[in-house]
Symmetry: C2
Subunit: 309 residues, 2 copies
């Protein structure tokens, strides 16, 4: 989509903010989303339709979807934990709905209080709802196979289970699956192997994106491995915000700014203007003082002679 080689899906407003306790004011979030879009970001996951009591930080998701929809050419994505969340997402008019299906059932039970079978049922119900909509109003419905590379509760997960769940999710009617390194334990060899296996089972067009964490600093190496294979959508968060309360200093998603430098220097078009992206970062830093921002390129600047516009 969008005339770019690689689509960077900015998940900062959702995955980044959800583990930050200080509530970012809705007005500031809107300014931030506007600035990210102005920098050329084509897709933003603006929030998650979870009960406000569970994640007060994301209570304004519907308002952020509405705001995002006013920005021309911006694809608005949201996360939903269940059928009810999907109903809200559809009512709000989101372009893309993602639901997590944890390969680690232990993690699934803890995260969304549902087993694999229950989640697949939920996915089927959502797919029915989504696919009954007229094409013009139908959001893209993706299932994110979380903990696909390992789980901090279960340890290693079975790769054949990842493949089985990918097949089951697509059979239940979702449009696409994604692979999520929820705990930041993936490595390039594993990524290549798992992408190959899932592609063999479901077809290359049914797995286009990866969601990588930088917990152990491997984010860009993993992104490179995925992109080299032909993955075309990579989630990232501005400033690598997110982190993990259980691992001090361990950042969250891969850093959008550094990913943009990696891709653009390799000659892959992202559609992003680097200076404008740094301006969005500044705007965030001003609105959320004290939040630790990761990423090296904004501090070092671009190499002499390189422009990313």
């Amino acid at each position: 989509m969008s005339g770019v080689d690689i689509l960077i899906s900015e998940v900062g407003p959702r995955d980044g903010l959800q583990s930050i306790a200080t509530i970012m004011p809705t007005a500031a979030k809107k300014q931030w989303i506007t600035a990210l879009a102005a920098a050329g970001i084509r897709e933003i996951e603006v929030g998650s339709f979870v009960p406000a009591t569970v994640l007060p930080q994301l209570a304004d998701t519907a308002e952020l979807v509405a705001h995002g929809l006013t920005i021309d050419g911006l694809q608005i994505a949201v996360l939903v934990p269940n059928f009810r969340g999907a109903e809200h997402a559809i009512a709000a008019g989101a372009h893309k709905i993602s639901i997590p299906l944890s390969v680690s059932e232990t993690h699934s039970l803890r995260n969304v209080k549902r087993s694999h079978a229950q989640m697949l049922e939920e996915i089927a119900r959502i797919a029915q709802l989504v696919n009954a909509l007229p094409v013009a109003k139908r959001p893209h419905f993706e299932v994110g196979l979380s903990t696909a590379f390992g789980c901090s509760l279960e340890g290693p997960v079975s790769e054949s289970l990842v493949v089985q769940l990918a097949e089951a999710a697509l059979a239940a009617g979702c449009h696409e699956v994604g692979l999520s390194d929820t705990t930041g334990s993936a490595h390039p060899v594993q990524l290549r192997r798992l992408i190959t296996k899932v592609w063999s089972a479901v077809g290359k067009d049914k797995l286009c994106g990866v969601h990588l964490h930088n917990t152990r600093g491997q984010g860009l190496a993993n992104a490179l491995a995925a992109i080299d294979m032909g993955i075309s959508t990579v989630d990232a968060s501005m400033g690598g915000i997110g982190g993990c309360p259980a691992a001090p200093g361990a950042s969250g998603n891969i850093v959008t700014e550094d990913l943009v430098f990696l891709l653009e220097s390799m000659g892959l078009e992202t559609g992003i203007n680097f200076a404008a992206l740094c301006a969005a970062r500044e705007l965030f830093a001003y609105a959320m003082p004290g939040t630790e921002l990761y990423g090296f390129t904004p501090l070092a600047g671009l190499p002499k002679g390189l422009e990313i516009t």
Copy 2:
């Protein structure tokens, strides 16, 4: 060498410390080197034979070489800027001598006050000295092609010049050349292209190592690209120490700890025990309070179920 798949050459005591103003006491350096070796590090660049007036931090290099030589199985590397430095290195008994040959002549003139022609003459003199030694006492003599991927003074550099200088350095009698991303501007596509070109010109056995900086967070992605091609030696610094005074927050070399996790998780043997490596990091942190240490894996810990011993 050393029965490992990838040789991690630890350059923290040289490249890491040289940009840190606070002098690390020699006794603490020795303890650190011992701890690194105990963790399984097979090669350490312990210092540089430059005048103490230029780099007071590295004034104890001869003493550190002597200390390193007492550690069984440890390869002791040193940097030298010129012939006189090489004489000192040989007198000290270093196993490996590296000299920088900057592809950017502007950088060469500023760094070692010599043009390409003058440096090649210096390299020839050192090679003559080295190759006249009996085999048992002959150090490995490497020329590091610095700024091979770009220069913060000149901007982009010519790839054919990199190849020419590699050929000229080998013709002058050095044993091997290395590619150094001195300014942290390399990207994977460039690395692959340049390694291919140099290999075509001089043979695969004459370029085995890369020296990468993490200035823009691309270090591990670049390391992956190099390793995938068959590069077998990668420089790294514990805690990513080094940095660049001109780029606040921009770390120095790639982080040894995160590199070890990357390689070992991919199934590549480094010979390193991760817990012992973290102990060496703690020892450094204790000796040099206030020095910013990078790296995510020491903070996050290894993924559940993975051991690196």
